[in-house]
Structure formats: structure tokens, C-alpha cells
């Protein structure tokens, strides 16, 4: 909201955070399968 750069960094941080969580869930699945 401050400027486009911080907005994009925020968007990237959120998306990477969620992708990291999904990767963690995949690892969990691989271990449990």
C-alpha cells in the first residue's frame, strides 16, 4: 500500500510462505505414504 515495490514484495512473501507450507505438506505425505 505504501508503494508498488513494497506491495509486490508483500505479495511475493505471502505466496512463497504458502508454497513453503505446501512443500512441507508434500514432504509429510511422502513420509506417510
Amino acid at each position: 500500500m505504501r508503494n508498488k515495490k513494497t506491495d509486490l514484495i508483500g505479495l511475493g512473501a505471502e505466496t512463497l510462505g504458502v508454497m513453503a507450507y505446501l512443500a512441507f505438506l508434500y514432504l509429510l505425505t511422502a513420509v506417510m505414504s
Partner: protein, 513 residues
């Protein structure tokens, strides 16, 4: 005219005036499918939407005219007005937005149209519309537009765009079950919510569009599918343009992109704003993300352990696509399904269904597009229980103050725990009644519980109960449950109380005469 009746007229005028503007907003929204119909030369759907738009505009204008005395006078909008306007406009929007569905001929009855519209606006995603694969682009655009707008909040959008200087906008905003103020005024908050959603709309649609072309869709078709699937995922809606839902794409990459979008969509808009402001630590400190991390990981672990006994899916990728995808879809209250409805009943077993019911009821974050009783309330009640357990064990001289982190450090007061518990209790009652009605209608207990949790939590996954042949009583109940679940009860109670009060007065007047 007596003072009491003057006051009553005044209340009705305020409600009529603001509700009229929201209806006008809904009418303007129909420009989107009208433009779509023009682009794709779909003349019959074009007529459907022009007729529907005209009806909505007439009703909206009529309501504004009825309450025209509100304009110009500095009217003090009270909480009751906010709650009643929010809940009443959702009901009227359901009826008016159902008109193009009804004219299209893709539904069995007007009740089915209302069901689909309420399912869209509340971002539930259950569908009664028939032959989805052959819907016009205009109607498909309409289905996904109402889901997208419903997720962000139609009432606030309409009031902030159409009404100048709405003094009580915050009360309408709270009436629509949103309670976070990102900036001191509601207009600014609504703008930020829409800005966040539009940025994600651009990025998410582009990602799905490219992936759609990679998996073999034609560019125009890939774009439309990308737009629909983004709107559905971001709003944690669950609608899809094809009957097979996400399975239509047969693509791991498409599923992963939609998963990322619906997890992001289930986050609180306050959390998005904090991170975009540079406060990245909020993502790990926030009670809701912590609650979501714990409950979703635990649910995945439990169901994966259960499936390791059943040997249903052969490898890790299959388990991830069938088990983890559906659990996260249920937990975020999205409702996109990567298996057929009856597979839950026939393959997942009692334990799998039980975990799905629990995560569907918990849902996503407060002030997000998600439903359920929300991670915030689960976290608060859990901390409240810990507080009560620790209280007798701590020293009487040291009064410890218990806190939780939700955008900022907040004191865990008994009032917060009580109000969170009350809302959870309301959801449980709604879920209980839905399960009872389902079993009474002849469905099995587990099927009824699954469908009731899906409806109350605004999820949209089905175990096969929701169909055009579902008994009318159950369909009506589902509409009420989606509506109450989305507005988190208070506004609906206010509307019932207001209508009940008006009815009582009318009866008293008639009795006097």
C-alpha cells in the same frame, strides 16, 4: 402522526434507502455478463441479463425513492440499521440475481436458482445448476462474478462506491460480518480490500492462463478458465466452469496454483495488509495462521495415517492430490474437489469423513473470504481454556495477564472468549439441525453430517446429498444455513427481531381496531 409511528417510518426509510443502493449496485454488476454476452455474440443470454438488470434497477430505484427523505437529512445510522440493511439486501440480492439463472433454463425451479445464487454470494460453491459444461459464457461469468464479489463484500462495495459520505458505513460493514479496520474509515478499508483482491486477480489469472495453455487449452478458453478458477479459488468459493470441477484439468500444476490461491484467499485481509506494509513477521505470529497451521497439519497427518492403512492411493503424489488437496480445500472452505462426491462416502471411511467435518466447521480466517467459525475463534477459545486451567495453578499474588497476537498484542479478556464461544455454539446448533434434517430426510448420518458441515461452513464440497432431487425442506434449510453462516448470525437475528417487532406492532394495531 404519533411520535412512535413517525420514528418507525423513519427507520424503514433509512433501511429502504440504503438497501435500494445495494440493489442498484447489484444491477450495475450485471453489466459484466452483458459485456461478456456481447463479446461472444450470445444473444439469448444478453436478453436474459438485460431483463434481469431492468428488474433490479426498477426495484432499487423504487426503494431509494421510498427512502428519499434520508438523503440530505443528516440521518444517524444506528447498529440496527446496519445489521438489517446487510441481511435484507443479501436476501433481495439472492432473489434478483436468480432471475437470469431462471430464464436460462438450466435449473429445475426458482428455488434451485436461489440456492445457487446464495451458494455463490456466500462463497459456498454447492451447485444445483444442470449441464454446467454447456452454460453460456455470460452465465458462467455471472456465477463466478457473484462468488468473487460475495467474498469481498457486496454491501460495502455498493455503499462505498454509490453513496457519498455514508456516515454509518462501518455499521453496514460489521453487518456483513467484517470487523477489521485497516485505515480509520470504511471507504479506505474497502478500497484496500479491493486493491489486494485485484492485484491477486491479475497475478493469479495470469499464472493460471499460462498454465492452462501449457496443458492444452486454447488461449481464449484458457483465459476464461483462468479467470473463473481464480475468482472461485480466491473467494474460497468452489464453483468451476465444468461439471468435473478441478478434475477437468487433469493437471498437478493447475491444482497447486489453485491451492496457493485458495490458501491466500482464506487469510485475513488485515494480514495481507500488514505483510504488504512490510510487517512480514505477522504471517508467523498471527493467532489465525498459527491455528490454521496446527489444525490443517494435524488433519492431514491423521487422514494420511488412516489412508496408509487403507492403501487407497498408490504413491505420494496421488495422496497429495487426492487427500491433502481436499483437506486444505475443506479447511479453507473453498470446496474445489479433486475426487467425485460419492468417493468420500464410498472410499474415505468414517474416520476420513469425521476429520473433513471438523476442518469444514473450523474454516479459514476472520475478515477473509472464508467461512466456518474461523481460526481466530478456535485460537481464542483454546487459549481461554488454557487460561482457565492455569488459573488455579498460579500464585494468587501474581495475576497473570493472558494475551494473543492478532495484528497486535491483545488481552485475552473473558468477554472475547465468551463471544467467540457463543458464535461457535451457534454454528454447532446450525450444524446439528442440518444433520438432523438430513437424517430425517433419509440420508445416512455420516452423509448428513458431511453435507451439513459443508453448508454451515460455506465450504461447497458435497458427498452426494445436494442434487435437484434433494427434498425442498433441505434445500430451504441449506439456503438459510449458508446465509446465516456467512453473515455470522447477528445480522440475521437483527432482521428476524426487526421483522418480528414490526409484525407484533401490526397485530397490536389490528387488535385495537
Amino acid at each position: 402522526m404519533s411520535a412512535v409511528s413517525e420514528k418507525t417510518i423513519h427507520n424503514y426509510e433509512i433501511i429502504s434507502y440504503y438497501t435500494g443502493y445495494i440493489i442498484m449496485g447489484t444491477a450495475f454488476l450485471m453489466v459484466i455478463p452483458i459485456v461478456t454476452a456481447l463479446i461472444f455474440a450470445e444473444w439469448n443470454p444478453l436478453c436474459d441479463f438485460v431483463i434481469s438488470m431492468s428488474i433490479s434497477m426498477l426495484i432499487g430505484l423504487g426503494m431509494i425513492l421510498l427512502g428519499r427523505r434520508t438523503r440530505g437529512n443528516k440521518v444517524y445510522v444506528q447498529w440496527k440499521h446496519g445489521f438489517v440493511v446487510a441481511s435484507l439486501s443479501w436476501l433481495l440480492m439472492m432473489l434478483l440475481c436468480a432471475v437470469p439463472y431462471s430464464i436460462s433454463g438450466h435449473t429445475h425451479s426458482f428455488l434451485d436458482c436461489c440456492f445457487d445464487v446464495m451458494s455463490g454470494f456466500t462463497t459456498t460453491g454447492l451447485v444445483l445448476t444442470q449441464d454446467l459444461d454447456h452454460l453460456s459464457n455470460a452465465l458462467n461469468m455471472w456465477r463466478h462474478t457473484i462468488t468473487f464479489v460475495g467474498g469481498q463484500g457486496m454491501v460495502v462495495l455498493a455503499l462505498t462506491l454509490l453513496v457519498k459520505g455514508t456516515n454509518g458505513a462501518y455499521k453496514f460493514y460489521v453487518g456483513e460480518a467484517k470487523d477489521i479496520e485497516l485505515v480509520p474509515n470504511v471507504k479506505g478499508t474497502a478500497r484496500i480490500i479491493w486493491k489486494i483482491s485485484m492485484v491477486y486477480l491479475t497475478v493469479g489469472t495470469a499464472a493460471l492462463w499460462i498454465d492452462g495453455m501449457v496443458i492444452g487449452l486454447k488461449p481464449v478458453s484458457a483465459f476464461l478458465h483462468a479467470l473463473y478458477m481464480f475468482e472461485s479459488s480466491w473467494s474460497t468459493g468452489g464453483f468451476a466452469p465444468m461439471t468435473q470441477n478441478i478434475m477437468y484439468y487433469h493437471s498437478l500444476s493447475y491444482e497447486i496454483i489453485t491451492m496457493v490461491i485458495f490458501v491466500l484467499g482464506s487469510f485475513n485481509f488485515g494480514l495481507h495488509y500488514a505483510i504488504w506494509q512490510g510487517n512480514k513477521k505477522e504471517l508467523v505470529k498471527n493467532i489465525e495462521t498459527r491455528s490454521f497451521f496446527i489444525t490443517s497439519t494435524a488433519a492431514c497427518l491423521l487422514v494420511l495415517a488412516w489412508f496408509s492403512k487403507l492403501h487407497l492411493y498408490p504413491d505420494a503424489v496421488s495422496n497429495f492430490r487426492r487427500v491433502v488437496f481436499n483437506i486444505i480445500s475443506a479447511h479453507t472452505t473453498t470446496g474445489l474437489g479433486s475426487i467425485y462426491a460419492r468417493q468420500f462416502a464410498l472410499q474415505w471411511g468414517g474416520f476420513g469423513i469425521l476429520i473433513m467435518v471438523i476442518v469444514m466447521l473450523i474454516g479459514g480466517s476472520a475478515c477473509s473470504t472464508a467461512g466456518g467459525f474461523k481460526g481466530l475463534r478456535v485460537g481464542v477459545v483454546f487459549k481461554g481454556i488454557l487460561k482457565e486451567v492455569k488459573k488455579p495453578l498460579s500464585s494468587e499474588h501474581n495475576m497473570k495477564v493472558y494475551k494473543f497476537h492478532y495484528m497486535k498484542e491483545q488481552i485475552l479478556s473473558d468477554d472475547i472468549v465468551r463471544s467467540s464461544s457463543l458464535i461457535i455454539l451457534c454454528y454447532m446448533v446450525l450444524f446439528g439441525v442440518g444433520t438432523l434434517l438430513g437424517t430425517f430426510s433419509g440420508y445416512s448420518f455420516s452423509d448428513s453430517a458431511f453435507e451439513a458441515a459443508s453448508v454451515c461452513g460455506n465450504v461447497g464440497l458435497s458427498i452426494g446429498v445436494t442434487a435437484p432431487s434433494t427434498p425442498v425442506v433441505l434445500k430451504v434449510y441449506d439456503i438459510i444455513a449458508m446465509y446465516m453462516g456467512r453473515l455470522e448470525f447477528m445480522s440475521v437475528f437483527a432482521l428476524i427481531g426487526y421483522a418480528g417487532g414490526g409484525f407484533k406492532k401490526l397485530c397490536a394495531k389490528l387488535a385495537k381496531r
